[in-house]
């Protein structure tokens, strides 16, 4: 991964009001992929709030990571329509292709498999997200094909 900015540099661009918590969490998450325990302590010091408050906020949001994840985070929709459209088969295909179970990251750190909630593509299910890109009308073969394209 390329050189990412240090916390001090990131924090210096934000004020010390609590309103800055979400933008800071977003920035660290986006640039570094996750927000570590150390990051949270430094954010807490900067905003003069408790570190537990930062932790509670960060863990509330599924799209903020608190641990390192794979290069590609795959979120398969687990909501009703996608489930009825064959989510289970897609899940099995993804696990086989990624080489790890749901909730886990592959050994080569390429893929993390997760379930997500409705992404608004109920008419085109099953659907999944690969980082920020949506893929719809999945079949097991299509899912494998998508993963094989990701390097």
């Amino acid at each position: 991964m390329s050189e990412t900015p240090k916390n001090a540099e990131i924090l210096s661009r934000y004020g010390q009001d609590r309103d800055n918590l979400m933008p800071i969490l977003h920035e660290i998450n986006n640039t570094r992929g996750y927000i570590s325990e150390q990051d949270m302590q430094e954010i807490a010091c900067h905003l003069n709030i408790s570190a537990t408050d930062v932790y509670g906020t960060a863990t509330f949001y599924s799209y903020l990571n608190t641990e390192p994840k794979g290069k590609y985070v795959i979120r398969l929709c687990k909501s009703l329509s996608c489930d009825m459209a064959g989510k289970e088969k897609i899940a099995a295909a993804l696990e086989a292709a990624a080489g790890c179970a749901f909730g886990k990251t592959s050994a080569d750190n390429r893929f993390t498999l997760e379930y997500g909630n409705c992404m608004g593509w109920c008419d085109l299910g099953p659907a999944m997200l690969v980082n920020h890109d949506v893929h719809t009308q999945l079949t097991p073969d299509k899912a494998k094909e998508i993963l094989s394209q990701l390097k």
């Binding site: 709030i49 408790s50 570190a51 537990t52 509670g56």
Partner: protein, 606 residues
């Protein structure tokens, strides 16, 4: 809340209530009981448990009474069918996710969830019941034990720690089904910046938070014939232990408690008021020396930082170590009365009793959970042994007495044991916020001027009461020749209780704007009488009642000034030498550890 009254109807009856009050406040005022669980009078409104729901005519859904303001002509029903069914469902859902059985629970008969289950006639687990633990009980802390499986997520501990104490070790983490109340990164309590005050325990409706129970270890020591078990009792527990046996708050049972402790098997029952008096002698002298150095430049004491702040409250001390480590020089170097006593019991008292210090087990009955942590500090070994072996809370002692079957309220009264078994009224009021300040003033003023403090009956009323921060000043005139540098000085004092209030005074010091010479800080609201080890419930009314009892006991004492305690003077003559002298310094004074507010304490809390 405004003065304007509005007309509302509760259960078909008309009432006039202040505009802006909540439905809960209106109902309570009108005498209608509405059950609560997440609501606590000391805390901000949460409105999350929904047990207080009521029906409002014309409104589609039930409303949480604690979080809904009254409106003109509102028609409220507090026990309609819809309301009762909803409350029952809420309770059944809570019980489905609440581990354990009532009869094997420390809070049996003192649990708010259990009480509500009784109130609403719950006789089965309609939605099932959690029969297996999901989490390990966290017993890592010397003071506070956490049992997450019993947590009902009322957020009271979060609001206490963050709102009242401004420490903030708890928060809701993760969400939905995975949501728990937790510490930073789920670290064990010992590794957090918990100040051990136990205020969260006092407000926890269930047994999700409790003190580290050490009664079995004390029983074991009592049963050991080779051990001499000595107990000291602090003033606050005496004003409250009666509550554990059905007395209303505000009745001191000091002398009955002495008898009960002997019946339990303690070999000596000593009075912490004695070392409170000793604290005043040491701390008062320290204050005067700091003032002397500041005003005359004479090098009479090493640390002359002003304002000087009291150091009796171990919760406050740890708070300062975490949040204001750069201001630790403001703390008096005096140990707390508990630890002074500990150091004396295994030296002076051991000698007097003719017992080897290693065979003494020193127990302290305290209103406090932080005292457990304090006695385990590595520096508290000045007697050559662990100065205080166990700190028991008022609740734990209630438990020990219950186990004996002794009817404490029917017992005859008895006095403390000597050689250091007599304290003054000044020592007694250490138990209330403002008490240490008042006791110090009674002695320091008289030492300097030769006259008693200029307040009727020695009651220094401006430092009493329950306001978060209070201040007072005394002009020093016609002082004794040896204190001439104080002539004409207006000495300024401040008192704060609850570390949130303390923060106000500490921030002032940080900004260089503090006008005070001497500050008293207690970690718990109300001081020791509102301590984290006191009987549950503790709220403002209860704290006021206990304070009244403590001040009444002060009035009834034969001596009310620390420097008039003959036994203290004898101790100086026989053993210690003089205040701040060499021996005092070794046994009665301490130092502090700058810890910083990083949520994980690398030193593992001690």
């Amino acid at each position: 809340m405004s003065d304007k009254l509005i007309q509302i109807q509760i259960n078909g009856k008309e009432y006039e209530v202040p505009e802006g009050s909540t439905i809960l406040e209106a109902c309570r005022k009108a005498g209608w009981h509405v059950p609560t669980l997440c609501h606590h009078d000391d805390l901000t409104i949460a409105g999350i448990c929904r047990i207080c729901v009521v029906e409002v005519e014309g409104w589609r859904t039930l409303q949480a009474a604690c979080a809904t303001p009254v409106a003109p002509n509102m028609k409220i029903h507090t026990y309609s069918d819809k309301v009762r069914l909803a409350r029952r469902n809420i309770l059944e859902l809570m019980l489905a996710d609440h581990y354990g059985e009532c009869y094997s629970c420390l809070r049996n008969q003192k649990c708010e969830l259990q009480k509500l289950a009784y109130e609403y006639g719950i006789d089965e687990y309609y939605f099932g019941h959690k029969t297996e633990r999901k989490w390990k009980v966290d017993e890592s802390s010397y003071s506070v034990v956490r049992d997450k499986d019993k947590c009902i997520q009322c957020n009271r501990c979060i609001r206490t720690c963050e709102g009242i104490q401004t420490v903030g070790i708890f928060d809701k983490v993760f969400k939905g089904h995975d949501c728990t109340v937790d510490t930073f990164w789920n670290h064990p309590m010992r590794e957090t910046i918990c100040i051990n005050c136990g205020q969260c325990i006092n407000r926890c409706p269930t047994a999700a938070l409790k003190e580290k129970n050490e009664t079995d270890l004390v029983w074991e020591a009592i049963a050991d014939p080779t051990k001499t078990v000595v107990i000291q009792t602090a003033p606050a527990p005496r004003s409250a232990i009666g509550e554990e046996f059905g007395l209303p708050p505000g009745v001191c049972v000091t002398k009955k408690l002495n008898t009960a402790l002997r019946a339990i098997g303690f070999d000596k029952v000593l009075d912490t008021n004695f070392t409170a008096d000793l604290t005043i002698m040491e701390e008062g002298t320290e204050l005067l020396m700091r003032l002397k150095k500041a005003l005359t430049g004479e090098d009479c004491i090493k640390n002359a930082t002003l304002p000087m702040i009291t150091s009796c409250s171990p919760g406050w001390v740890k708070f300062c170590e975490h949040f204001f480590p750069e201001q630790l020089d403001h703390l008096s170097t005096c140990k707390s009365p508990q630890q002074m006593f500990g150091a004396l019991i295994k030296t002076y008292v051991a000698e007097k009793m003719n017992v080897e210090p290693k065979n003494i087990v020193s127990v302290a009955l305290m209103p406090c959970t932080a005292k457990k942590f304090e006695c385990n500090r590595p520096e508290m070994h000045d007697s050559g042994f662990k100065d205080v072996d166990f700190g028991l809370t008022t609740r734990e002692m209630g438990q020990m007495i219950r186990e004996t079957g002794i009817k404490i309220l029917d017992l005859p009264e008895s006095d403390f044991d000597n050689p250091i078994g007599h304290g003054s009224g000044a020592g007694m009021i250490f138990g209330a916020t403002g008490g240490v300040m008042e006791a110090a003033l009674r002695t320091a003023y008289e030492l300097v001027t030769g006259r008693p403090v200029p307040f009727k009956d020695l009651d220094i009323v401006p430092v009493r009461g329950m306001d978060g921060v209070r201040e007072a000043e005394v002009k020093l005139e016609n002082v004794k020749p040896e204190w001439s540098f104080l002539e004409g000085v207006t000495a300024k004092f401040a008192v704060a209780h609850g570390t949130g209030n303390a923060r106000v005074l500490l921030d002032q010091i940080k900004e260089g704007k503090s006008p005070y010479h001497f500050i008293e800080i207690m970690a718990c609201p109300g001081g020791c009488l509102g301590g984290g080890g006191m009987p549950i419930p503790t709220n403002l009314e209860v704290r006021k009642a206990r304070a009244k009892a403590i001040y009444a006991e002060d009035h009834a004492m034969d001596i009310r000034k620390s420097h008039e305690n003959k036994l203290v003077m004898e101790l100086y003559k026989d053993f210690l030498g003089e205040p701040l002298g060499h021996k005092s310094h070794k046994l009665l004074h301490t130092h502090y550890t700058p810890r910083g507010k990083k949520a994980v304490d690398p030193k593992g809390s001690v």
